[in-house]
Assembly symmetry: C2
């Protein structure tokens, strides 16, 4: 027999592409598990980039059959608005710009009554305003989307102003417990002196393959055909995605910095960039021009017993993102394949770091991290009736 | 300017030896940090094995000057009762058996009013009764002491019956975020299929040194002189401490088992045990008798490209503790020195595990883990006035 429900968490989800869709599936399939833990997640609304499907606020939220259909529709590439025929008395669909207003209205009503968790699984800067409004209404926020935490420092500060009401584990290393561990260490008064991480599965794979003497251009093409890279591999090679994760970690450690303060090393020069040539040209003739210089750097590192890794390094007041020579026998040096690795140095982990390693990408893993974040907020949603 | 205090956590500490003393020091030194987070920890009582020093329940707890003196006294080997001269109107000292009754009284009063966190940093089975009573009174429990979680399954079940009100990170791998990570994964509905861990810094060191062709007896003696082992190294070599940690992890995964269900491989036979010979005799003549068989096992593993590790393996319905041959290039196989390593396999971490590695012992690190656990309970202690 399941115990009584102790916490009911009303959720509005922004973004129901890959991660958001997996999250909804996890929520539905975890109902018996969460019931056993005394937790109930009530999906009150789901938004894509153009519409919002929202349940009657006095109902128990969107039912699981509708959520399952919604996942199927999004999986088939249809917009949320295609579910219009399914909408009955229990819910309504709003299109932009009404959809955004309705999200804030919902946050405002629920923030003051039952509470609300606004979950951002989109990949856009557009949600920042809604998230800040939700914070003002006393709502909790859970993010898989890195962008709201990487725009202005003021926005970051606002979002984390009540640190117990925000979770963003899946913005760094997908479901890997990096943010949770850093937060634990910080709250125990153990000062973190340095974080070094390989936070791109793509670049981790590429750099470790180079050790075997393969050419850079070959390895990048192999990574692309394995599905490890973005459609244009320069989106990975620019290091900008790593820089966003690094910025989140640096800000978590108290650095009041922004993207422009981070020294980011791109693995291709401007002449081979998206403004200068197409993806096709880059793959066919641009990439090979990078082989020689990378090969030289790999060899130079090897002569010193080191390997080359594309890492972020957060230390003191600074944050760097780029290639680093690291000892072969360190956690980062031993890295093979597409795993993420984070090394955390503190008073307690001074001579040898705390190391967290594992898959740092994938919709399933990212969504699992988001769900763990939501459930972790349960003590703020105690049922009172 | 510090934000208003949102959570006041009253704490009673059982055990003020190494870990407990470090915890009190951390609590005092973290006051400004916690004030910034809106958290205040109020130490209401501290007990050693014979006495309890308890503050007036209407006061703000034992003051920091008294706590600092208490740490100094315990550090110098004096009992709590030596502080009798320091006791004024704000607090009282009770000796056993009154001390135990007073702990329950305090739990009963605070459990129903402000709440209480009963923290067990002792290393005894004697606290189980008090902890269960505290749970009955609605108190929270934080444990560094493994023993209450490793006695009968009924006791374990009782202690974790309200899973949000108990934390026990420091029972496995000291401050390493093992329990927190396993709990996150479980609450996200990602089923854990296997945990393999090297959870003894001593045995981790010993096994990795053997790879270099050193003799077992030499390595154990070196570990002893480095302070890595217990005064009688057989306390490490028996594997019982690893088995207790393994049992906690197995129970966390839902296995309803007890110590006697775990297959524990001792690294010495009964003929060389504490009942048969003294520590001195074991070190002088017993230990060397083990060299040949261990050397053969190390060689046999090496021929297959493996190394020998002393691990716990929790899988399906079983839990084993002992020597295992593991691939040289796995996280466990690469382990050197006294770090702990835990590999977690689940749906999300299927082909490659989630790995957590770092120092898994030490009073400072263990106490930091306990403090992070206490702070993590803050949402249950919202200030209402």
């Amino acid at each position: 027999m399941a115990p009584p429900v102790r916490s009911v968490l009303p959720v509005v989800l922004l973004g129901c592409g890959g991660v958001g869709r997996h999250l909804l599936r996890h929520i539905v399939s975890c109902r018996p598990l969460h019931a056993n833990q005394g937790v109930a997640i009530r999906v009150v609304g789901v938004a894509d980039s153009s519409s919002l499907l929202v349940a009657d606020l006095h109902s128990n939220g969107l039912d699981d059959a509708l959520l399952t259909d919604l996942c199927a529709a999004k999986s088939a590439g249809s917009p949320l608005s295609s579910l219009l025929s399914r909408v009955s008395g229990q819910c309504q669909i709003f299109n932009n710009p009404e959809a955004r207003t309705k999200v804030i209205d919902t946050a405002s009503v629920l923030g003051k009554t039952t509470g609300l968790v606004l979950v951002d699984c989109s990949a856009t800067y557009d949600t920042v305003g809604m998230l800040k409004d939700a914070v003002d209404c006393g709502c909790c926020v859970v993010l898989a989307n890195k962008k709201p935490l990487t725009c202005t420092y003021e926005d970051f500060e606002k979002l984390v102003s009540n640190f117990r009401r925000i979770r963003f584990e899946s913005t760094v290393g997908a479901g890997l417990p990096v943010i949770a561990s850093v937060s634990r260490i910080l709250s125990s008064g153990d000062p973190i002196s340095r974080i070094v991480g390989s936070l791109s599965g793509t670049l981790g794979y590429v750099m470790s393959e180079l050790e075997d003497g393969k050419r850079f251009s070959e390895v990048v093409k192999a990574a692309k055909s394995l599905g490890y890279t973005e459609p244009d591999p320069r989106d990975d090679l620019s290091g900008m995605d790593v820089a966003r994760k690094a910025l989140i970690l640096a800000r978590l450690l108290g650095q009041q910095i922004s993207m422009e303060d981070i020294n980011v090393e791109s693995l291709y020069p401007r002449e081979l960039g998206p403004d200068a040539m197409s993806t096709k040209d880059f793959l066919e003739s641009g990439l090979v021009q990078l082989d020689k210089s990378i090969e030289e750097r790999v060899k130079a590192a090897s002569l010193k017993g080191n390997v080359l890794r594309y890492v972020c390094k957060i230390e003191g007041k600074g944050c760097q993102v780029g290639l680093q020579e690291l000892p072969k026998n360190s956690a980062l040096g031993r890295l093979r394949g597409s795993d993420n690795v984070v090394e955390i140095y503190s008073r307690c982990y001074e001579s040898a770091p705390l190391v967290i390693q594992g898959a740092g990408a994938g919709n399933d893993t990212t969504a699992a991290g988001v769900l763990a974040d939501i459930v972790d907020l349960q003590d703020l949603f105690h049922k009172t009736d």
